[in-house]
């Protein structure tokens, strides 16, 4: 349980225009294992994370994790940074320049919390691809190498809570995928709570159970990832092009011949590339509106695997090339993005029955987060 | 601007004098200035530094050295005006002890008689104990040279040589005794008289060391009438009471 309710002002200083003053107001609560902070550049994500770590002292408020109060301005309580048991992957790395990579990695490694086991050093370095860099002086590393060492250093410090501020920003796709897997393992095997800052919807939907949306210094919403990304009013903040539905589904069958997994949710069944989870697991599937095709007759001889039926609830026609058609499947609303021309040609109307087509491979493994 | 010009054009007579003369000479100069409406400035430092400075062209018109060696040095370089050198003042050495010391050794010390050489020796070593014998550095400071000569002549040098604390000027030696850090020391009588925290135990017989002479001369580069008038005044009877007041012996 993470419970944050703080305020922090950075007043404009002498010589600065008033416009440069900034107030961060953050009130949110979540018992997610991974909670993402999502918002535009300058919206206050790093400030909140710093306050949780104890690096920034809020002007007023309260921060508690698992009912342990870390900061409380009314009780004048302010736990020291080192006693908070928090690991932090900084946005700007902050490796110790006088230490080698190995010394950086092991700096916090002897911190032990009762009954807590840690990932073996070798596994972390190998998965992050830094095993060959161990004896290097840290300032000679490349940008991505620095970032990986910073991740390793925080992971190895045995934290109870891990703060990650855009940890994957300068990694290539392959390394990013591996690191995401590592983060999931840390969450599952070590039970570390993670607060994750990212600009990437893919990362957020894959990892986060809950998302807090920030805008101009204010937390404007905090809820289940699914809810947040399905809320139309938040679309301006969650990203116009990245819209889609997030559904929680249960794995019901593995097809070992074709390496597909069948998932079931209230609106029907879908198949997706095989995910190695036990049957019965709940998995978060993201269906991007741009990946959804609509049809008025059931298509045949087509490579699309998933054909769901539903009725059109609404069509959001903003006059451009694109129309967003919301289709109700069972009790769920799924957005589909098609061209306005298609809508007119297919003569779609509200209430009409349509087929909703989604390719199996549109669910790529990298963006599927399993939650149990 | 040559130094001699700067010495005279400003109409100021510059005197280089041994630091130990400061109080007495300041008073003499004040009197001279009011009497002659002339401005005089005195630079007080170690005689050696002053001599070296004169050698490198210092605008001093009058030099008063604490001993004759450095005056000889300048004379040998032909920097002093012929016939102006004179022995200005004399001084005496005294054996001192802290005024506050109340122990037996220091009490019996007053009865010291340098004629009785063995007794003097034992009295001094008793008073010294494990302490130090404070005096100016005999290799460097005139007062130290005289004191060393006297102790040698009195046959006491060997017994104090290993216990000597050399200082860079007489005042530091005086301070050691005044603070009770050193149980014994040798300084000028003029210094001892001005320091209430020390007690003069004995006067050192003048015959045991070369005469202590403050030697004065005009520096030929800056030889002016006023400078000569000042030197004449310092050596005059009119100046005598002030010298005496500060413990010097006018020659």
């Amino acid at each position: 349980m993470i419970d944050v309710d703080i305020e922090k002002s950075f007043p404009a200083r002498r010589g600065e225009a008033d416009a440069s003053s900034r107030r961060i107001v953050a009130k949110f609560k979540s018992d997610a294992r991974i909670i993402a902070l999502f918002g535009k550049s300058g919206s206050g994500k790093t400030t909140i994370v710093n306050a949780i770590a104890g690096l920034v002292t809020p002007d007023r408020g309260r921060i508690a994790i698992d009912h342990e109060v870390l900061f409380d301005s009314s009780g004048a309580l302010n736990r020291s940074v080192e006693s908070r048991g928090i690991g932090y992957v900084f946005q700007d790395g902050l490796l110790f320049p006088h230490l080698t990579v190995k010394q950086n990695l092991l700096y916090g490694a002897n911190r032990a919390f009762a009954g807590r086991s840690s990932v073996p050093v070798e596994q972390v370095t190998e998965l992050l691809g830094i095993d060959k860099l161990l004896s290097r002086a840290s300032p000679t590393l490349s940008g991505g190498e620095k970032q990986r060492v910073a991740i390793g250093r925080a992971l190895l410090s045995n934290p109870r809570v891990l703060l990650m501020d855009e940890p994957l920003a300068s990694l290539d796709a392959a390394r990013r995928a591996e690191t995401l897997r590592l983060i999931e393992r840390v969450r599952d095997e070590l039970g570390v709570r993670i607060i994750y800052v990212s600009h990437s919807i893919g990362e957020v939907t894959r990892l986060a159970d809950d998302v807090a949306i920030l805008n101009e210094g204010h937390v404007i919403a905090c809820d289940h990832t699914e809810t947040i990304f399905n809320r139309a009013d938040l679309r301006p903040f969650t990203g116009r092009y990245e819209g889609g539905a997030l559904i929680e589904a249960t794995a019901v069958a593995h097809d070992h011949e074709y390496f597909l997994t069948r998932f079931s949710f209230e609106g029907g069944d879908v198949v997706a590339p095989g995910l190695e989870v036990p049957l019965g697991s709940r998995v978060r599937l993201r269906i991007r509106a741009r990946d959804v095709t609509l049809a008025t007759e059931r298509p045949r001889g087509i490579s699309i695997r998933n054909i769901l039926t539903g009725s059109i609830v609404s069509m959001d026609d903003r006059g451009g090339a694109i129309v967003e058609v919301i289709v109700r499947i069972g009790s769920r609303d799924m957005p589909s993005r098609i061209s306005r021309q298609s809508r007119d040609e297919l003569q779609l109307t509200t209430g009409q029955q349509v087929y909703l087509l989604v390719k199996a491979i549109a669910f790529d493994k990298r963006s599927m987060g399993y939650t149990a | 601007n040559t130094p001699s010009e700067s010495g005279s054009t400003r109409g100021v007579v510059l005197v280089f004098a041994a630091a130990s003369l400061k109080e007495a000479l300041d008073e003499q100069v004040a009197q001279f200035q009011t009497a002659h409406a002339q401005r005089v400035r005195v630079s007080y430092a170690g005689s050696n530094a002053l001599a070296k400075q004169i050698e490198s062209g210092a605008p001093a018109a009058v030099f008063v050295s604490a001993d004759e060696d450095w005056m000889d040095y300048l004379a040998s370089k032909r920097l002093t005006a012929d016939g102006t050198r004179r022995a200005l003042l004399g001084n005496e050495l005294v054996l001192i002890a802290p005024a506050a010391a109340k122990d037996a050794a220091s009490a019996t010390l007053s009865t010291i008689d340098f004629a009785n050489h063995e007794r003097a020796k034992s009295l001094i070593s008793a008073a010294l104990g494990t302490g130090r014998f404070a005096m100016a550095d005999p290799r460097a400071v005139p007062a130290g040279k005289y004191a060393q000569a006297a102790l040698r002549a009195l046959g006491l040098w060997d017994s104090v040589a290993t216990r000597v604390a050399n200082t860079d000027n007489v005042r530091s030696a005086l301070a050691f005794v005044a603070r009770g850090e050193a149980p014994l020391g040798i300084v000028y009588r003029t210094d001892a008289m001005a320091e209430p925290r020390v007690r003069i135990v004995a006067r050192i017989p003048t015959s045991t060391h070369p005469p202590i002479i403050y030697s004065a001369a005009i520096i030929s580069e800056n030889d002016t009438a006023t400078a000569r008038a000042l030197l004449t005044y310092l050596a005059s009877r009119a100046a005598e009471p002030v010298w005496r007041k500060h413990g010097f012996i006018a020659k």
Binding site: T47, Q91 | L14, F16, R41, Y44, Q53, S56, R171
Partner: protein, 235 residues
């Protein structure tokens, strides 16, 4: 509060200290930069020579100055004949002595700060078209400013306390070369001068306190503007 004589001494001391700092600052900065950012043959020896005023007794430095810059010395003659500059027995000489004695302190503090400026930032400035000299003036120097100020301060304080080299080089002439320490020295040679000594010491302390607070103020002003150690998003 202060006697006329004391005022004279204090104002002379300040003049000497200021002049010595101003005289040596550009040269010290140049030396510091050379030592911090370049490598040349004989650098160690050059560095050692710069430290001499610290290592040798002040009297020796004063004596060396006398031999070099006295009216009879080679440099002294050159400067006198060529430029009409005389150091011997002038307050300028006291300033020179103080400058020489404070020089190693000034250079070291400046060098330390220059070395701490990241060459990456200098490189960044050069990709923006700035010449080496512009980079130095707009990036390196402002970032090294705390150390430069400390260097000036140390040299200034050292000047206020300089005794041995000064009295050996330019003698102890009231109104011309008699700075605070020399005046204090004179008093230590006078029986019963303790009260006057304490007064002068108190004045010295006051001066140092003022110069210290001034330097802290300058450094802090620069630093708030500069955000040097950069609390950044953390602070």
């Amino acid at each position: 509060m202060l006697t006329a004589e004391e005022i004279e001494i204090v104002s002379l001391s300040l003049r000497v200290a200021m002049a010595s700092v101003i005289l040596s600052a550009p040269l010290a900065l140049a030396c510091a930069y050379l030592l911090a950012r370049t490598d040349f043959f004989g650098k160690s020896v050059f560095d050692a020579l710069l430290h001499l005023p610290l290592v040798l007794p002040p009297v020796v430095i004063g004596y060396a100055l006398l031999l070099l810059f006295g009216t009879q010395g080679p440099m002294g003659r050159l400067l006198n004949d060529g430029f009409g500059i005389t150091f011997a027995f002038r307050w300028t000489g006291a300033a020179l002595a103080a400058a020489v004695m404070g020089f190693p302190l000034m250079v070291r503090a400046m060098r330390l700060s220059l070395e701490a400026v990241s060459p990456k930032l200098e490189m960044a400035a050069r990709t923006l078209g700035a010449s080496r000299i512009r980079v130095f003036l707009t990036i390196t120097l402002p970032l090294a400013l705390p150390g430069v100020v400390v260097g000036l301060l140390l040299a200034f304080a050292r000047s206020l306390g300089e005794f041995g080299a000064t009295i050996t080089f330019v003698s102890n002439i009231p109104g011309e070369t008699q700075t605070l320490p020399l005046a204090i020295y004179g008093l230590t040679q006078t029986p019963g001068g303790d009260a006057a000594i304490l007064r002068l010491c108190a004045i010295s302390v006051a001066l140092s306190l003022i110069s210290l607070i001034a330097s802290e103020w300058i450094a802090r002003r620069m630093q708030t503007r500069a955000q040097l150690s950069g609390g950044g998003a953390l602070a």
